[in-house]
Symmetry: C2
Subunit: 356 residues, 2 copies
C-alpha cells in the first residue's frame, strides 16, 4: 500500500487542489504522529509542514514524522506566511467539518489571494482502509474491552449507581493497559436506557431495569466501540421483545456486511426488518459508523449514506430500540470488512443476561 501522504497527494490531484490544510487533531496524529491538541499541517505537491504553538514545540519535535516542524508564538498561519509556503494561484483544500469559522476567517485574511476549497472526508477515506498494524491495535482495544466486560458484569445489579459502573469500567480498562476511554461510557438504566446517548448519571439501578452499556477503549490511538444491554431482573415484556428484535437485527447486519455496497444499503436492510417488527420509529439512529482514528468516522452506515464500504474498513453495527419512559436496547459490535464479507471482532456474547 502506498504511504499516507502519497495517497493524500493522489486525492488532491483528483480534486484539482495544489495543497491541503489539515486541522483535525486525529488527522494530524494519523499523518504525522502528533498527539497534542493544537496544530495544523500543510501538504503541498512535494513538501509537508507541521505547525504548532509554543506550548507544543518540544512535543512536536519529538513526535512528528514526515513533516518539517514549524512553531509559532500563537498564530499558526503566520508561520506559513513567513516561509512563503502558499503563493498566488495556489488552490488550497481545507477540512470543512474540522475548521471553525474563526480560524477560517483568519486563514482568509492571512492569504487573501489563495483559492480556498472546503472538502469533506479526504483523509477519512484514506484512513478507512486499515493496515494490519491498525487492525491489530483495534483488536487489542477490543480484547481489553472484553476483559473489562467480564470483570464488571458481576457488579451490575439493583442498588448500584450507573456512575459506579462507569467508574469501574474506566479504572479497569486503564489498569489493563488502555491509553484511555474511547469516549465517556454510557451506562443508562431503566427509563434512561431509552436515551440512546445518555452517558451515565448517579441514578441507582432498580429491579427490572434494562441497563444499556456503551463503552470502548483506545490502544495506540485506535478505539473499540461496543454496546451490550442486560436486564437487572425480569424486564417488561415489550423490552424482552425489543431485545429479540435487536439481536436479530444485529445478526442480520453482520450477515449482510460486504465491501462495495453503500452505507444506506446495510442500514435499509436492518431498518426494513425493524419496521416489519413494528419498531421502525423506535430505531431512531443510524445502523453504524466507521471505526478508527476520530472514533466516528467514514464510512457512515445510515439511511442517507452514499459512502461505499471498502475492504479493510472496520465498522460498527449497532441497531437499537428505544421506548420512551420504558427503556431501550442496543447491541453494538465491531466488524472488519473483508473481501468475502464481515469478520466479527467482538467476542462478547449477545444472549440476554438477567442478573439479580
Amino acid at each position: 500500500m502506498p504511504d499516507r501522504l502519497t495517497l493524500l497527494r493522489q486525492s488532491l490531484r483528483a480534486l484539482n487542489l495544489t495543497a491541503f490544510l489539515v486541522s483535525s487533531p486525529s488527522h494530524l496524529r494519523y499523518l504525522f504522529g502528533f498527539t497534542g491538541s493544537n496544530g495544523i499541517g500543510l501538504i503541498t505537491s512535494n513538501q509537508s509542514f507541521f505547525v504548532t504553538d509554543w506550548r507544543y514545540r518540544e512535543q512536536a519535535e519529538q513526535e512528528v514524522h514526515d513533516a518539517e516542524v514549524l512553531s509559532a508564538f500563537r498564530d499558526l498561519f503566520a508561520a506559513l506566511k513567513e516561509r512563503n509556503l502558499l503563493r498566488v494561484g495556489e488552490r488550497l483544500g481545507y477540512e470543512s467539518p474540522h475548521l471553525n469559522c474563526a480560524m477560517f476567517a483568519h486563514l482568509r485574511k492571512t492569504f487573501p489571494q489563495i483559492g480556498l476549497t472546503g472538502t469533506q472526508f479526504v483523509v477519512e477515506k484514506i484512513a478507512a482502509r486499515k493496515s494490519p498494524e491498525e487492525i491489530d491495535a483495534i483488536r487489542r482495544a477490543i480484547a481489553i474491552s472484553a476483559r473489562v466486560w467480564d470483570e464488571v458484569l458481576p457488579l451490575i445489579k439493583p442498588g448500584v449507581k450507573e456512575s459506579e459502573i462507569a467508574a469501574e469500567m474506566v479504572y479497569r480498562g486503564r489498569k489493563l493497559g488502555a491509553d484511555r476511554e474511547a469516549f465517556e461510557p454510557i451506562v443508562a438504566s431503566g427509563w434512561r436506557s431509552a436515551l440512546p446517548h445518555g452517558v451515565s448519571s448517579h441514578k441507582v439501578i432498580q429491579p427490572g431495569d434494562m441497563v444499556l452499556i456503551d463503552f470502548g477503549f483506545v490502544v495506540d490511538g485506535y478505539p473499540s466501540d461496543i454496546t451490550r444491554t442486560i436486564a437487572a431482573g425480569q424486564p417488561d415484556k415489550r423490552l424482552k421483545h425489543a431485545y429479540e428484535v435487536v439481536r436479530q437485527a444485529n445478526a442480520l447486519a453482520l450477515a449482510r456486511i460486504r465491501p462495495g455496497y453503500k452505507g444506506l444499503e446495510f442500514d435499509m436492510v436492518v431498518r426494513d426488518y425493524m419496521i416489519s417488527q413494528g419498531l421502525g420509529e423506535a430505531f431512531n439512529h443510524s445502523l453504524g459508523h466507521g471505526l478508527g482514528i476520530g472514533l466516528h468516522s467514514w464510512p457512515r452506515l445510515g439511511p442517507t449514506s452514499e459512502d461505499q464500504i471498502p475492504v479493510g474498513a472496520v465498522v460498527t453495527i449497532e441497531p437499537g430500540v428505544y421506548l420512551p419512559g420504558v427503556g431501550g436496547v442496543r447491541i453494538e459490535d465491531d466488524v472488519l470488512v473483508t473481501e468475502s464479507g464481515g469478520e466479527l471482532l467482538t467476542p462478547i456474547p449477545r444472549d440476554l443476561i438477567c442478573v439479580a
Copy 2:
C-alpha cells in the same frame, strides 16, 4: 442578577443583532440545560428554540428549559426554516470559534437572505460572572480533587507508571461523586514533565524525576483545574531552582489578582518575574484562563489578552517552567475574583514534596 437569556439579549442589542445562533455544546447546557452533544439554539428578541436530531429528542424534551424544543431527522437548520423563524432582514450572530465551516456553509445555503455576523465570547462573557450556585459547584469539584490528591500522593514513587497514577485519579474522583474528569489528566515524569500538555504515557517514574500532575473533575457541569509537581527523589538542582521560582510566581499572581484589570497585566507581572530569574523563555504558555463551563474560558490571562477580569470570575493561575530534556514544574490554582482581590480556592499545599 438578570437571567441568562435577558443578559444575552442585552448583548445582542449592543452588537446590533436581532437573533443569535448557539452552537457550542457547553453554551447549550449553560442556557438550556441540554447535556447531549448535538444541537443548536436560536434566540430572537422574544423567543428561544432548541433544535436537536432524532437521537436526542427524548433527552431534549426531558432536559431543556427556557426554550421550545424542535427536533429534526438530521438537518437542524431545516427545522428552523420550516417554522419560518428567520426572515429577510434578520441580522443573525453566530459563534465563530464554535461553528465549523461545513455547518456554516449549510447555514448560508439554508438562509441565503439573512445577514450573518461572526461573534466571539458573547456567551462566555455572560458566563464568566458566576452565581453563588456555580461557585459552589466549582468548590465541590475542587474538594473532590483535593481528596483525590491526598489519596493518590502515597502512590507516586519510582517504579510506578504515569498511566497507573492517572487510572487511580480517574477512579477515585468518580467514586467520590464527580461526574467525570474535567480533562484527560496529565501525569508527566522526568523529561516528559518538560512537555506542558503531555497527558500521561506508560513511562515508569524514575528516581529523581519531577512528576507533573494536572487534573480536575466536573461536578454538576463545573470543573476544577489544578496542577502540582512533586519530586520522586532528589531532583536536578536546575529543577529545584525552577520550583522555587514557579512557587514565587504562583504567589505573586495570587497576590495581584483583582477585578478591572486586563488579562495581559497579570500575565506580564509574572512573566517579568520569570525573566528576572532567567526563565522567561522557559515559561512558554499563558498565565491562566477563566474556569467554568467549557473549561478553558473567558477571561484569558495571557500576554496578549485585553479581557477585563470581572468580579465573580474564577480563573486559574498556572505559571510553569520547562527545561527540554531535563524536566518541568507547574503550580496551578483556582482563584475566585472578588471585589477586594482573589480568593484562593485550592487547599492543596504548594511546598516541594520529595517522595522516595
